[in-house]
């Protein structure tokens, strides 16, 4: 429920999210087709990877609304690319003067265990030191597969532990309570959008089933499982809107139509073939005449300056350091999208030599 609420706020065409395998609800709310979501998980042709990845990690190029940067199987890998995207929003605004990026944000989704990864801390440092328009959405279900969250952050609550972190606005609450979750999500998004710096939104949720089909949750006591089911957000949502906003009949009609759509999509997905074996070696590298939908210079209408492989030697012999610097200098001059960064590359001009 909370993911869908968050997705409904991502209306800016330059917004981007990066999630993980548990991010399907927000992807559906951004517009990923049900058939693609189901077919990809079945390894079928088409969809978002043509059967090439694990199926539950999405990507979603979207020119009209929020895109989803390609997710990865590795927990924590989603964080730093999102921070990079948020920094690029600033670059588009401040260096390229592109007003289309005004108010855009980067949103990263992670679980409670992901806050122990290097990627989380690297991105947190970047977002807070650079005051990036980035929202960290941490969905805390108390477990990383079977490992309890007290091993991931002391006292289990990353929001409490980061309360005094400079430059980070914290929102913390119950992700199953429709009113509370919707309020916190709205506040968190508008804080980030207003350019007031990064936000961490920590919402608690139950994980109602095992981590995977094989997982019987034997590591949870019966009481824990019962307490989790008591927090199922769907009945809570129903209690919240029926009868105040919807009648019992309306709700039942919604439920039936959702079930029907899913069943129809499953059927379509099931009828899809597996991907064409002869195509499986394509797109390890770029191919002429087949530009990617998102990423890089070329699909933004880039037209490379004329080039030749014939050297026209000029001046005295220079060493490789000067040669590389001069090439970077020229490309920075002719292409405003080129940017150079690293440890000590600024005033000091790199450390190696």
């Amino acid at each position: 429920m909370a993911q869908v609420l968050l997705g409904l706020h991502l209306t800016h065409p330059k917004d981007a999210i990066c999630g993980y395998y548990r991010s399907r609800p927000i992807l559906l709310s951004l517009g990923v087709a049900l058939e693609d979501a189901l077919g990809s998980a079945m390894g079928r042709a088409g969809g978002y990877s043509d059967g090439r990845d694990i199926g539950v990690v999405f990507n979603y190029p979207n020119a009209r609304g929020a895109s989803a940067l390609p997710m990865c199987g590795g927990v924590g890998a989603q964080y730093t690319p999102t921070a990079g995207y948020a920094q690029a929003i600033e670059y588009h605004k401040n260096v390229l003067g592109d007003r289309a990026y005004d108010g855009a944000i980067g949103v990263v989704l992670g679980g409670d265990a992901s806050v122990a990864t290097n990627g989380f801390w690297a991105a947190l440092t970047m977002a807070t030191t650079l005051k990036l328009p980035m929202l960290f959405y941490v969905e805390d279900n108390g477990y990383g597969i079977s490992t309890p969250s007290w091993l991931q952050t002391p006292g289990c609550n990353i929001a409490q532990n980061l309360a005094s972190f400079n430059g980070l606005k914290i929102y913390d609450g119950d992700g199953t309570d429709p009113e509370e979750a919707s309020y916190l999500i709205r506040e968190a998004v508008s804080h980030t959008r207003a350019g007031r710096g990064p936000v961490l939104l920590h919402l608690t949720v139950p994980r109602l089933q095992g981590h995977s089909f094989q997982d019987t949750q034997a590591y949870k006591s019966k009481d824990v499982v019962e307490a989790e089911w008591a927090r199922d957000p769907l009945p809570k949502l129903k209690a919240h809107v029926v009868p105040s906003l919807l009648s019992e009949t309306d709700w039942a009609a919604f439920e039936a139509s959702a079930q029907e759509r899913v069943a129809r999509a499953a059927q379509i997905a099931d009828q899809r073939p597996v991907s064409e074996a002869s195509q499986v070696t394509r797109f390890v590298f770029s191919e002429d005449g087949a530009l990617q939908d998102e990423g890089g210079l070329w699909n933004g209408g880039y037209d490379a300056p004329r080039a030749t492989d014939q050297a026209r030697p000029e001046g005295a012999r220079i060493n490789m350091i000067t040669a590389i610097r001069r090439t970077l200098d020229h490309e920075l001059a002719v292409n405003p999208r080129v940017l150079v960064f690293g440890e000590d590359v600024g005033p000091k001009g790199a450390c190696t030599v």
Binding site: R52, H92, N118, A122, G295, W298, I318, R325, F341, V345
Partner: protein, 262 residues
């Protein structure tokens, strides 16, 4: 290397980062997806280790999204032995990047090639590892006149730096000048090929040369076991030496860098 660039282009375009290589490469991934051409620098080859996950995921991005997304960038880093060695500042280990599908890998041996390969990389549509050999950065033998602002070299085209017919020497980076010096000293008529890039690498040029000389020596600066020299040796053995003895040859299947669904 980047001295003076920040003064000229400002702190938004040339800047210092926090000390996290995962952050440096991950940041570049997000920026590339947003349509920029990031040029991240890693201080030494060994310090790319903390960025392994982002490097690998960046390389497979185009393939695993069936060409929906790509994150072209140019990662620069110094590699190799210079003056004194230690486990942190002397590694080459180019082979790890060649073994990460989706990355193009350049190892220039001199100033002219460095300009040409870097320019191609900066205007390209794939992620590139640009490996700068520490021993060549200020070496007299690596100096060349600036080849011009339009000069750009294709990847995968080796350069014949010395022509000969007694033996083929295959090298790249700092080993090219060593091969030249050795051939000179030994008075051997060596056909010396500077590969210039390892992904892709110019197997055609190597095979054509070996077919003429019937001898091949690969000189690489790396651990003997599992280095890129081993890959070249396998291809040369298969296609040049064994092929001539086999009536029908099984196709060598190591040529296409592929990722497998996990």
């Amino acid at each position: 290397m980047t001295l003076g660039l920040q003064d000229k282009y400002g702190e938004n375009r040339v800047f210092d980062t926090s000390l996290s290589e995962e952050g440096i490469i991950g940041r570049a991934v997000g920026m590339a997806i947003a349509g920029l051409m990031p040029v991240p620098e890693i201080q030494f080859r060994k310090y790319a280790d903390p960025a392994c996950e982002q490097i690998n995921d960046c390389g497979t991005m185009r393939w695993r999204t069936a060409n929906r997304f790509a994150a072209p960038m140019v990662v620069r880093m110094p590699v190799g032995f210079f003056r004194c060695g230690d486990p942190w500042h002397s590694q080459t280990n180019e082979v790890q990047f060649v073994h990460s599908p989706g990355w193009r890998v350049a190892c220039p041996s001199n100033a002219e090639d460095a300009v040409g390969l870097l320019r191609t990389a900066l205007r390209g549509n794939d992620p590139v590892m640009f490996l700068e050999h520490r021993n060549m950065l200020d070496a007299t033998s690596a100096r060349r006149p600036y080849p011009g602002d339009d000069f750009a070299l294709p990847f995968g085209v080796a350069k014949r730096v010395r022509e000969g017919d007694a033996i083929t020497l295959v090298a790249w980076g700092a080993m090219v000048e060593r091969c030249e010096a050795a051939a000179e000293k030994a008075g051997v008529s060596a056909d010396i090929l500077d590969l210039r890039t390892l992904a892709p690498w110019d197997s055609e040029a190597v095979l054509a040369s070996v077919k003429r000389t019937h001898r091949c020596l690969i000189v690489h600066e790396d651990i003997g076991t599992g280095g890129f020299g081993g890959e070249i040796a396998a291809i040369v053995a298969d296609r040049a030496f064994l092929a001539s003895r086999r009536a029908s040859r099984a196709p060598h299947d190591a040529g296409h860098p592929l990722s497998a669904p996990s």
